[in-house]
Symmetry: C2
Subunit: 120 residues, 2 copies
Amino acid sequence: MAHTRPAQLPDPPYYAVIFSSLRAEGDNGYAEMAQRMVELASQQPGFLGMESARGADGLGITVSYWRDEEAIAAWRQNAEHSVARRLGREQWYESFAVHVAKVERAYRFNRSPSPAEQRP
Amino acid sequence: MAHTRPAQLPDPPYYAVIFSSLRAEGDNGYAEMAQRMVELASQQPGFLGMESARGADGLGITVSYWRDEEAIAAWRQNAEHSVARRLGREQWYESFAVHVAKVERAYRFNRSPSPAEQRP
C-alpha cells in the first residue's frame, strides 16, 4: 500500500485521538490485533478516518478522527477494543501517550487535482 | 535514534498541530530543511514537544505541541518556516493535511518506571 495520502475528512469541528507509541519486543499477536482494531474502529458510529505511521526509530503515531466525544467514549467501551487496550499495556507497548483533542481548523494540499490511486 | 518514546508534555490544555503528508519523489533539500525546522520550532516560545513518524507506505505524521494559539501563529510567521512551507507546496509534498486541535485530556503509559535511554 504505497503512496497513502492523508485521510479525507469533513469540515471541523470534530475530535482527534492521537496515539503515540513505542512497541515492545516481539509481535505476540500485535499485527493481527492492530488490523482488527482498524476494521472495528472503521465500523463505529461517528468514526471519520484514521492515519497511521511508524518510523525506523520505533515511534508510531496513529491519529483517529471522530465526530464527537460520545463516539470516542462508545469506541472506548467496545469489548474487543477493551481487550486490545489491556493487552497493549501487558505485552505490546513499552510506552504510549494518548491525546484527545478538538480539531478547530484544518486545511489540505493536493499537488494533483484529483487524488487518483497510484500503484507502483 | 532507536527506541524513541512519545514526547514528555505538561498537563492539558494546550494545542496540537497534526501534519500528515505524502512526500513527492526526490529529496530536493527536504531532509536538511526538515532537520532545520525541528531545531527552529524547538526554539520558539510556547513550543512544548514534537513527535514524528513516516511509514513504508509513504505517509508521514508529525505532531507538534504548543502552549496556545498565539505560539502557533508566531511560528507560522517565522520567516524561515514560511520559506519551508512554500517549498513544501512547490517541491516536497504530493499531498498534506494540517489539523489544529486543542488537547483536552491526555494520559501516558510507561512499562519501565524511568524512561532510561536505550542504546542498541
